[in-house]
């Protein structure tokens, strides 16, 4: 089902069965001129992913706005996490994964030879499903990224560690115990440490792959609060299974679906979260959101 990319007059970008409503061009330009330093927007055009011969995603086109939370939702196996990993090229590490189409970060092609994946990953951080702090102290965990970038000065690192832990709303709990082993923290604290670790490289975007799915409700609440705080300074793309969570924290929601195992997943609909959850355009979106399948 390969059909040409259509951009219709009202700013709707259609591809195959899916259609994406982009923010109106004039609105985007207005926002950009308001704050010229706004960075961290992704544009995806006709993105496809194949594991070997198995095409898992096809024809995904979307615009991920800067300094906002974009949620990717959809049933298990619909390629949300795979799509997320395209954005920092972590799929490269899996081997035998082919990504097609175009992905640009602030206009720069991230899949071309000109983009070094190592540099890209300093600009696009990731938080994983299960908290995965390194087996070292809290301080060393947060300083890992900056040290990788070549920062050696202790005072500079100290500053970055404090700033990042504050950004992840963990500073108050650990400021007197920065030399403590990260594994002594609770699961929720560990996950916020992982957020702090990702913040320390000063990324423009943070990708989150179901960051709260392994946590209890209180820790989940804290992660969500952290995300709400962060979105003023960094773009967040979050994969979540939890519809309420998507509704609570995101500004934009994209619904992906793999209709059958024989065909690749595609983007069904993407819009402002409020609209997606109250009045979606597509009937499949509505039945997924209201819990009729998935």
């Amino acid at each position: 089902m390969v059909s040409p990319l259509l951009v219709t007059g009202d700013g709707t970008l259609s591809y195959g069965a899916g259609s994406v409503t982009l923010p109106r061009a004039d609105a985007r330009e207005g926002a950009a001129s308001k704050a010229a330093d706004l960075q961290g927007s992704f544009s995806l055009a006709d993105v496809s992913v194949a594991y070997g011969r198995d095409r898992v995603i096809e024809g995904v086109s979307m615009y991920i706005p800067p300094r906002a939370v974009t949620a990717l939702i959809g049933p298990s196996g619909c390629g949300k996490s795979t799509l997320l990993r395209c954005l920092n090229r972590m799929n490269d590490e899996l081997g035998n994964v082919h990504v097609g189409g175009t992905i640009t970060l602030d206009g720069a092609d991230i899949m071309g030879r000109a983009m070094d994946p190592v540099e890209l990953r300093m600009r696009v951080g990731q938080v994983f499903q299960r908290p995965n702090p390194f087996p070292m102290t809290i301080w060393d965990n947060v300083a890992y990224g900056p040290r990788t970038q070549g920062i050696r000065k202790r005072s500079e690192l100290d500053e970055l560690v404090e700033e990042s832990l504050k950004g992840a709303a963990l500073w108050a709990e650990v400021k007197n115990n920065l030399k403590k082993h990260a594994f002594e923290l609770s699961g929720g604290q560990q996950q916020r440490l992982c957020i702090a670790r990702a913040l320390a490289t000063k990324p423009e975007v943070i990708l989150m792959d179901e960051p709260a799915s392994a946590l209890d409700p209180i820790s989940t609440q804290q992660i969500e609060d952290t995300i709400a705080q962060l979105k003023d300074s960094v773009t967040i793309v979050i994969v979540t299974h939890n519809m309420q969570q998507a509704a609570r924290i995101s500004d934009q929601t994209a619904f992906m679906l793999r209709e059958s195992l024989d065909e690749p997943a595609h983007l069904v609909e993407m819009d402002e979260t409020r609209k997606m959850f109250t009045n979606p355009d597509d009937a499949r979106t509505e039945s997924y959101i209201t819990g009729r399948f998935g």
Partner: protein, 288 residues
């Protein structure tokens, strides 16, 4: 058959199984304890100051074993210096870089086979390759290279296993922060795997310390008047000393030989126990 008699039968069978398996497991422990106690009982009398501070006299019937202990320490030190870097790097390659192809399978097969080669064959190989062909002569370096060949499979396998136990999540986290593969390995993966690697290496080296056959033709001597003074020096070693005394000294001194065996067993056990203890401390600190 009534239900209660069936459960009673099952319970009896269960109890019997527990007793039988437990008794067999205990008998293994009993053998180990017996060997250890027997060596201690026979050898403890030899351990005095002279035993540790002097060389053998009267072809080993009198005196001490200082040059023998020193020779073994030199030999194992040299073996460790050769085995650890090669073994760890090879293990890193297999766990982190090796593609799944014919070459990798061939390397794995070679390592498995190396582990199965009898130690006397290593002795002959060492004689041919290091003593004669490479021209090292009968020396510490030739014997250490021979023991390295024998110990490498243990260290490589231990390294590979230890690295494989490190969760993939941890590598991903490092890569996602913009670290290269190399940095991920030496900053995150290797330190996390260090306890497993070191334990494996120590077990391999402990085994090497007790080997006679590989050093028989490659550098161990019956008697030396001085301590070894460099890598090309010949040396005396604990296992070879026991072997040589028992096979070629008429009227060998039982007590001194049991004492030598005790020193070997104690040395190896102390290092192994320390490694196990250190590992359990690290384990408690690091849980996945």
């Amino acid at each position: 058959m009534s239900r209660s008699s069936r459960t009673r039968k099952a319970r009896t069978a269960e109890a019997t199984a527990k007793v039988v398996t437990g008794a067999i497991a205990l008998s293994v422990v009993a053998v180990a304890i017996f060997v250890f106690v027997y060596i201690v009982y026979n050898g403890i009398g030899a351990l005095d100051w002279t035993f540790f501070s002097e060389g053998p006299r009267d072809r080993g019937r009198e005196g001490g074993i200082l040059p023998i202990i020193v020779g073994t320490l030199y030999l194992i030190g040299a073996t460790a210096g050769l085995t650890l870097p090669i073994g760890v790097l090879a293990g890193v390659y297999l766990a982190e870089y090796a593609p799944r192809n014919f070459t990798t399978r061939a390397i794995r097969l070679a390592i498995t086979n190396m582990a199965g080669v009898p130690s006397i064959v290593y002795g002959l190989f060492g004689l041919a390759a290091f003593v004669l062909l490479a021209g090292f002569g009968r020396s510490i370096i030739a014997a250490a290279l021979t023991l390295t060949c024998m110990t490498l499979p243990v260290v490589i396998t231990a390294t590979e296993e230890a690295l494989r136990q490190i969760p993939q999540d941890l590598r991903q986290a490092s890569l996602a922060l913009g670290a290269t593969r190399l940095r991920t390995i030496y900053k995150v993966v290797l330190p996390a795997a260090a306890p497993g690697i070191i334990t494996g290496a120590i077990l391999g080296l402990a085994r090497a310390a007790g080997e006679t056959a590989p050093i028989l033709f490659t550098g161990a001597v019956f008697q030396m008047r001085r301590l070894p003074d460099g890598p090309s020096s010949q040396f005396m070693a604990l296992p070879y000393h026991i072997y040589a005394q028992v096979t070629s000294v008429p009227g060998w001194n039982r007590e001194l030989i049991w004492g030598t065996a005790l020193v070997l067993v104690l040395g190896v056990s102390i290092v192994s126990v320390m490694a196990a203890w250190w590992r359990s401390v690290q384990r408690r600190k690091v849980k996945w």
